[in-house]
């Protein structure tokens, strides 16, 4: 970014923010709804990235945290009448606890075993949500239908009113910005370096005085919390939760988003989210089974050809451009 100079940088950022603010008024409501989901997935992938990309603990079960957050929000709104915005911290906190709890057995599981245990968790989630004894709370197979929140004030731009979806867009955008900022802050300092050191060489990291169990379980907790907040936002955006929206494919989609965007890259999460939101729509036209086939081929191709994802390619291109310029 140095090539632009400080003024150019600020101008770019300002233009980007302006574009993001005007965007929902340029498109139809349904598109806005899709953008909301992109933001939600971006947060979820960010959470997964913290654990898998930065800390190297492979999770194939982040759909479980997403589901937990979504159900927390849904139950709080539906049964306790909590306002929608207040469910996010609750979902974050509960998922943090849930993640820590899972983080402890995860300490003893290396590499593929952790992937396996979390995969089992992802497979078991819909069954647990359908469990009869919890039916009163979770609504069983039927799930819970929610009401989308209205915008707190009337407003219109370019002849488009501030509809429920547009209001949620701004709400989600604000939460996403906060989450990305928090994660960036967390990862660029001591904690981030400790997490990466644990991923790259656990024994050397211990020798350097990093408390391995503490950092690994904290990474699990924070990652679960971020994904849980995404889940709560997802529930509010879609205004519906049911066990079958949280099958193992959700966890796998998050992983696909992570790999496409780029492992251990914070902005990569956005590319990953755009990918998992829009590519299935295009692929659906080919065949019902096409999206997962394309995902599968892409996962393998990416791993073999460009393991650092979209962000890796962008960074590489940027570096080359700068080298030529100087």
């Amino acid at each position: 970014m140095k090539a632009l100079g400080p003024r150019g940088l600020w101008l770019t950022v300002a233009l980007l923010v302006l574009a993001l603010l005007v965007l929902p008024f340029l498109v139809k409501n349904y598109r806005v709804f899709q953008f909301n989901l992109v933001l939600v997935y971006a947060i979820a992938i960010l959470g997964l990235n913290l654990l898998t990309g930065f800390n190297g603990q492979i999770s194939l079960g982040h759909g479980a945290f997403y589901a937990f957050g979504a159900y927390t929000a849904a139950v709080l709104m539906d049964k306790a009448g909590v306002p929608y915005w207040a469910t996010l911290p609750a979902a974050g906190l509960l998922c943090f606890g849930f993640g820590l709890l899972l983080g402890f057995p995860a300490l003893r599981l290396a590499g593929p075993y952790l992937a396996l245990a979390t995969y089992a968790l992802a497979l078991a989630v819909p069954q647990l949500l359908k469990y009869k004894r919890l039916e009163e709370l979770t609504g069983g197979v039927q799930g819970i239908v929610l009401v989308k929140p209205d915008a707190p004030f009337a407003f219109s731009l370019l002849g488009q009113p501030l509809s429920q979806d547009r209001w949620l867009y701004f709400f989600t955008l604000a939460v996403a910005a906060l989450m990305f900022l928090l994660s960036w802050n967390l990862l660029r300092g001591r904690v981030g370096r400790a997490l990466v050191a644990i991923r790259d060489h656990p024994i050397a990291a211990t020798a350097m005085g990093i408390n391995l169990p503490l950092f690994k379980s904290l990474a699990f907790g924070v990652s679960a919390a971020i994904t849980g907040v995404a889940g709560a936002l997802g529930a509010i955006t879609v205004a519906f939760v049911s066990p079958d929206s949280f099958t193992v494919s959700l966890s796998i989609f998050l992983l696909v988003g992570l790999v496409v965007g780029g492992l251990a890259s914070i902005p990569g999460a956005i590319f990953g989210a755009v990918f998992i939101q829009f590519v299935p729509n295009i692929a659906d036209d080919i065949s019902k089974s096409a999206p997962s086939a394309i995902y599968g081929v892409l996962l393998i191709a990416l791993m073999i050809l460009m393991p650092s994802g979209v962000m890796g390619v962008l960074n590489g291109a940027w570096a080359r451009l700068r080298a030529r310029g100087s």
């Binding site: 194939l60 003893r108 593929p112 992937a115 992983l255 997962s292 086939a293 599968g296 996962l299 393998i300």
Partner: protein
């Protein structure tokens, strides 16, 4: 008492299937130290091939043999074409590639053969002298087939030169290469064998649970649980683990928690084994040098 016996016997029959899935996982783990997440979908795809052949009018055992052969060749090719590229890559890369394979095989099954439930014929007669109140002919037959596969594998690994070469390649790749064993091809052979075993397991379970693209998801989980319980590096452990998990599943399902939480039982088993006894019942403690 009768009901209990029945549950145990049918648990043992299921245990055979879990044991064979576990065995396929152990085979790949032993030679590559990876856990193949696509094992179940590969087996389902093989079973679909068998189904298509039978639909085309082939006799059962001819279709069976052809499917096993195709699966073996498929597993071998898969290792040569895809997995060899990431042989030395980090664990995460491998896990992601396996997940990719899982998605591809699942999508292919759905794409080619559609998502409707299909009934799969059993090769064993409905009534036979051996079948009794406690056990159906298919349960007996599939148990016999799986035990046959196990026996054949035991003989192959213990008594043939090729089996010896494969064991050597898995245990000490560098030394094996020095004595002229083509280690990479041995890995491919291992993949072929695992795919073939998986296909047999798929064809044996399909008459019981009906055939659809997601048939093996639950079974794979039980296979994982069995493999871990027995110790992921022990073939004997895989089989014993399979029986234990099969009986446990049936007893817990019938008397304690009901059928709707069956997958959660597998989850609890996996997490409990990994936390309390990570090497399983028969596994060796691994000591690594820093």
């Amino acid at each position: 008492m009768d009901a209990l016996l029945h549950q145990i016997v049918s648990g043992l029959a299921n245990g055979c299937i879990y044991g064979s899935v576990a065995l396929a996982l152990v085979m790949i783990y032993q030679s590559t130290h990876h856990i193949n997440f696509a094992q179940g979908e590969m087996a389902t795809f093989s079973t679909f091939i068998a189904w298509a052949l039978i639909q085309a009018g082939w006799p059962y055992w001819a279709a069976f043999a052809t499917t096993v052969a195709i699966s073996f060749a498929g597993g071998l090719l898969l290792q040569r074409l895809v997995l060899r590229q990431v042989e030395k890559a980090p664990v995460l890369t491998n896990v992601i590639v396996f997940i990719g394979l899982l998605l591809i095989f699942n999508a292919l099954s759905g794409w080619i053969f559609e998502h409707t439930l299909k009934s799969f014929p059993s090769p064993f007669p409905k009534d036979s002298v051996l079948a009794s109140r406690y056990v159906s002919a298919h349960e007996l037959g599939s148990a016999a087939v799986m035990l046959g596969v196990l026996g054949a594998l035991f003989v192959f690994f213990r008594l043939t030169p090729l089996g010896l070469a494969m064991r050597a390649a898995a245990q000490n790749p560098d030394s094996a290469r020095l004595v002229g064993i083509r280690v990479s091809w041995m890995l491919a052979l291992g993949w072929g064998l695992a795919a073939a075993i998986g296909s047999v397991a798929g064809m044996m379970i399909a008459p019981v649970v009906f055939l659809d693209p997601n048939m093996m998801a639950g079974i794979l989980l039980y296979g994982f649980a069995a493999a871990l319980l027995g110790g992921i590096d022990s073939p004997l452990g895989a089989v014993v683990g399979g029986f234990v998990v099969g009986v446990l599943e049936n007893l817990l399902g019938a008397y304690v928690i009901g059928t709707e939480l069956k997958l959660s039982v597998a989850l609890v088993l996996i997490v409990a084994t990994l936390t309390l006894r990570p090497n399983g019942l028969f596994g060796k403690t691994v000591v690594s040098r820093v």
